[in-house]
Every structure is written in C-alpha cells, then in structure tokens.
C-alpha cells in the first residue's frame, strides 16, 4: 500500500468504518434470520420448504441465528405457544342428549402448532387453521354429547357426572384428527357455556317458581311443627317439674308429719285432756271476725244474762255447743 493510500485511510477511517458497518449489517440482515424461542420457523426456497437431509422431514429451525439465501429463501414463522380459541360459528349449538333433552353448549379449545411442516402445507394463516379446527371440534361435539344422558351432564350426585368424560372424549376425537390432518396439537377442549334453548328457559322458570312455592310451604309447615313441638315439650317439662316438686313436697311433708308423730306420744299421758285442748285450739282457729255466732244464755259467759247468775255453784267444764254460721 502506497503512502498516499495509507494517509487517505488514516484521514477518512470514520467514514470508511461507518460505511463498512452499514454494509456488514445489511449483508448480515440479508443472509441471516432469527428464530425466537416462542416460534417455529421454516425456510422455503423458491416456495418449497427446506428438508432436513438426515430425517427427510421439513427442517424446523431452533431458536437462534441462522443463514439463508437472500431473495431466494423465505422464512415462515408461527407462534408455537398454546392459544385459546372460542368457536365462532355455532358458538352456542343446540343438541340433544341421549335421553332427548335439548341443551345448548359452547366450547373453547386450547391449541398450538404441533407439526409446523404440516401446518405450513395446510394453512396460509391462523384464521384458516381455526376454521378447520372449528369444524373438527363441532364434529366431535355432535358425536360425543348425544352419547350421554342429561343426568350425566347435570347432576348433584358427583359420582354420576360425566362432564369431564365428555370433555376428554371430545379431546381424544379432536386430538388425533387435528394432529394427523392439520398438524395442530389440541391440548384441551372445555365447556364455555351450558344451558337450555330459549323456549325451555320459560318452563324452567315455571318449575323453579313451583319448587320455591313448595319449599316456602315446607318452611312454614316445618316452622309451625317445630314451634308446636317446642311448646308441647315445654308444657311437658313444666308439668314434670311441678309433679316432681309436688312429689318432693309430699315427701318433705311426710317427713314433717313423721317427726311430729313422735311428739304425739306425749298426749298418751292424758288423751282426754289432749283431746280437749285440741278442741279448744280448733275452736280458736275456726272462728274469725266475719263469722256470725248465735248463742243462747246457757253458754258462758252469756249465762250471766240468766237470772241468778250471781249465785256461784260447782259446774263442770261441759259447755253447750254454739251454732256457727260462716
């Protein structure tokens, strides 16, 4: 290199290096392509997918930087992650169960590209793939659901429920077809809606109202019955308490009488006197202020009204019986 060229390079290195950098970037961009971790990539040469010579299948490129022929090679990419698709056509489809119940269902699908080579051949866009998937899923839906009775779809007995079996049945049917025919890996099919046809909902409402009415009456009857039971139990309990108390009281009174009886023996010393004293006591207790007493003058002290009352003589304690009106 001559001195003149060296000095030119030294003087214009920024321009030259920048130009070189631009050229290098341009060239690299032309001859390479990136494959993301989240996507499949296939190179098509003149529209034909490049084949892996060792396997004989369409070559799938791993994530990273790869070479390609500029203008000749085209890179086809598709996201390889799972995505959710809710069926659009016939989203809510009416169908019959095994026992001829009409139900309306809609489903969703979780799918990803399973075989990029086949997917590339079959579809030009994701929308095309979803349309094909939709048809397959609808077929499986109409094939599987009528095998089950309504009680196997909706039932309070968990053991009799077959909803998961229905979902798995649809998945098994779709999975095989989708993978072998379209290169789509279906991971899950599930119910997004489960209901009745519009006309049936009115009848369901009527039944629900009748059911509520029955439950309402049941509540009232139960409440009344329970209240009556509580009241009768309360009465029984009260009677029991009183009866027990009276029994106890009788026993206690008996104890009192038993204890008193021991003292009655004392009256045996003079029974006549005891009888007389008890009679006097009874007389005292039996007459009150509101009683009317009619006596004749033979009764002391009214015997004093009789003539000769001032003449004292020996009398016995025997006295006439007064007439008493209570």
């Amino acid at each position: 290199m001559s001195e003149k060229k060296k000095s030119l390079l030294a003087r214009h290195w920024p321009v030259i290096s920048l130009a070189l950098l631009v050229v290098i970037i341009f060239v690299i961009a032309m001859i390479t392509f990136q494959v993301k971790e989240t996507e499949y990539a296939i190179v098509k040469t003149f529209g034909k997918a490049r084949v892996d010579k060792t396997t004989g299948k369409i070559k799938e490129y791993t994530p990273g930087l790869h070479l390609r022929w500029p203008f000749i090679d085209q890179v086809w990419r598709h996201d390889k992650r799972l995505q959710c698709y809710e069926l659009k056509e016939g989203t809510h489809e009416q169908m019959n169960t095994k026992d001829k119940f009409q139900i309306v269902v809609s489903t969703y699908v979780l799918w990803r590209v399973g075989n990029p080579g086949m997917f590339l051949r079959r579809f030009s866009s994701t929308e095309d793939a979803e349309k094909s998937l939709e048809a397959v899923v609808r077929n499986s839906r109409t094939a599987v659901i009528p095998r089950y009775s309504f009680a196997e779809i909706v039932n309070v007995k968990t053991s009799e429920m077959k909803m998961e079996a229905i979902e798995n049945g649809m998945l098994a049917m779709v999975k095989n077809v989708a993978m072998t025919e379209y290169g789509i890996d279906v991971q899950r099919i599930g119910f997004r809606h489960l209901g009745f046809p519009e006309a049936v909902t009115t009848k369901v409402f009527d039944r629900m109202k009748a059911e509520r009415s029955r439950i309402s009456g049941k509540y009232l009857a139960e409440g009344k019955s329970q209240a009556q039971r509580i009241r009768s139990e309360a009465d029984r309990e009260a009677n029991r308490i009183i009866a027990e108390a009276e029994a106890d009281a009788k026993r206690i009174r008996g104890q009192g009488d038993e204890a008193a009886a021991k003292y009655y023996a004392v009256y045996g010393k003079n029974p006549e006197l005891a009888k007389f004293l008890r009679s006097l006591e009874a007389l005292k207790l039996s007459l009150g202020s509101k009683d009317t007493l009619i006596l004749d003058t033979n009764t002391p002290p009214y015997s004093l009204f009789k003539p000769g009352a001032t003449e004292l003589k020996q009398t016995s304690a025997k006295s006439p019986q007064p007439a008493v009106k209570k």
Partner: protein, 401 residues
Amino acid sequence: MEEYTKTTKIIDPELDENSSAGMQAVVRILRAISICLRILIVFVFGYLMFSGVFRVDEQNEAMLFRFGALQTRVLDPERGETAILTSGRWYWAWPYPIDWVKKIPAQNSVTLSTGNFFEPWINPAKGEQSAGQKTLRPGTDGYLLTGDTNIVHAQWEVTFRIDDAKTYYLNFYDDENAETIISAKKGEEEFCGVQSTIKCLLANAVILETATWGIEDLINTTRTLPNGQAESLKDKVQMRLQKLLTKVNMGIKIQSVNLVSFNYPSETVQAFQQVNDSAEEARRAVLNAEDYRDKVVLAAQGRGYSIINEAKSYRTKVVESIKADTSYFLTVLTEYERNPETMLTALYTDTIKNVLNAVDSKYVVHAVEGGNQEVRLLLNPIPEDKNENQQQNQDMSGQPN
C-alpha cells in the same frame, strides 16, 4: 479531453483559481463531516455500551434472548444455571436485535372475572338486576345450570400470580400479541391471550362445579357430604381451576377464587323472596315457641321451688308446732293433775273469751225451757261501703265532709 482542459486553462485563468477555492471548500466540509462522524461514532459506541445496562425491578422477573434464543447464566452457584433474571443486580445486553429482554410481572397479582354468567347489560358489581325478563337467550344472556337443573346467575373472580415466568411466557400466547391481533382486526374481539385462556378455564371450572351442586347448596355456598364433611363452593371451584391450570402447565398460581355476585333469574326473584319470607316466618314461630318454652319452664321451676319450700316450711312448722303443743300440753297437764276442774274451766273460758272477742257478729238468745222458740235473724247483711257512702254524701252536699 486533456486537450480541452488545457484549452480551458489557457482561455480562462480566473476559472482555475475559482475551481481551486471550491475544491478547498469541499475539502473543508468533508473534514468537518469527518470530525462529526468521529464524534458520532464515539457517541454511538458509548451509547451502545451503556444502553445495554439494565436492572430488573422487584416485582418483575426477566429473560434475556440472544438472536431469539433464551440465554441462561449462573447467578447463584448453589442453584446452578437459570434463565430467570431477578432483581438486586445489574445486567448487560447487546442492543436490539442482537439481544432483547422480556420482563414478566411475576410478583404482581392479577384479578380476572367471568362476567358471562349474567345478562350482558347487567353489571352485578353495581348490584344491577334485570327487570322481568321472560326468557334467557343462548349466546346473549349468560347463566349457569345447577345440578338440580335450575338456572342462576353468578360472577366469579380469580386472583393469580405468575409462579414460573419461563413456563408462563414460553407456553402461552401472551396478551401483547393478542392485542396486536385485536387491533389488526379492527376491534373484532379475538380470544387467544393468556388472560382469555384463564377466563375460559375459570368459566369451565365454574360450569363443571356448578353442575354438581343443588340450588339450595349454591345459595348457602357450602354443602355437607354423606360422610358429614362440609365443603365450600369457592374451594371446589378453586381446586378444579388449579387442576385445569396444572394440566395445561400455565406456570401461574391461584391466590384466590371468589364468588363476587350471585343472583336468581329475574322471573324467579319474587319466588325466591317468598321462600326467604317463609323461612323468616318459620324462624319467628320457632323463636316465639322457644320464648314460650323459656317462660313456661322457668315459671314451672319457680312454682316447683315454691311447692318444695312450702313443704319444707310445713315440715318445720308442723314439727315446731307439735313441739310447742306438747310442751304446752305437759305444762297444762301438770296443772291439770293438781286441779282438774279449775284448769278445765279456765282453759274453756279463756278460749270462749278469745273466740267471742274475735267474732264481730254475735247474737245471744235467751234460752227457753224445752228449746222451742223461733228466732229470725238477717245473717250476712251486705256490708256498707264506707267510701261509697262518703262519695254519695259529697255529691249531695257539694263539699267533702
């Protein structure tokens, strides 16, 4: 050409001078550009060096992709190689498109709800209810079927957190792309992103679970199994959803599942209200009965105590009374034995005195020989009410006595 140049030089010497000056100006401009380029290169180089420095926020986890391939590195020798970059240190990446960093909000909680089990114009969060709709249209009016074939409306909510950022990002179509698709289709809604997937799975779990519950249990949101064990609707939906998420390996962890709103179809609301009223009335009847029970039983207990205490009192009284009587008897007996006639007379007259003193109404009739005489007496005359008489006197005189 050479000849022409020479000719020109010979013809116009001033032009040659001007041309030289022009060249010099061009050279000067080129030099200036060269200097600017140098500065620019240094600046760009510096920018490239420093723009690659980044850090990860506490609530995020990040992944570094080089030419699209996920890069791993050893951050903690004990844990070995990892693809997840966490907070607390600085990282460096080449500028795009060589390297690019995906940050995932792994520590943030996200809440999603299923609004599709209500009529579309109803916002259950605001307590709105539909007004007397006679039917429910499939595809428009959302609802759930219960295990006993009733219809209910419900809104469920799930709160989740990203548990495994790598699985979450690499296994599922992210919402960034979903948004792109939505805008590309001029607003046509397209379900494909992670959030739509979770909504679908939540709806799926709710449908499957609700279809096994009777409406009474749904109203209570709990039920008792034949073995006596109780289970909650919320827990069952959460378990079912977690099972679905685990099956499809989403890399997220459910924090909670909640039943935000629950309602009956508008056509049946009144019937359900009637049940509530009846239940309330039944409860009131039972409460009244319990109140009656408390009163009656307590009154009986009180009466029982009273009976027993009366008996005890009787026992004491009868014993003490007989004691006193016997004591009295013995005393009287002693005196009686000394002087029987006098004692008996004294006792008799004392008693007659007391009795006659106590009785207000006494009639003494002269004893007739033979005892045959007619005496007419008005017994138990109506007692005069003193107060009444006083009142009558006041009325008549106009002033109190």
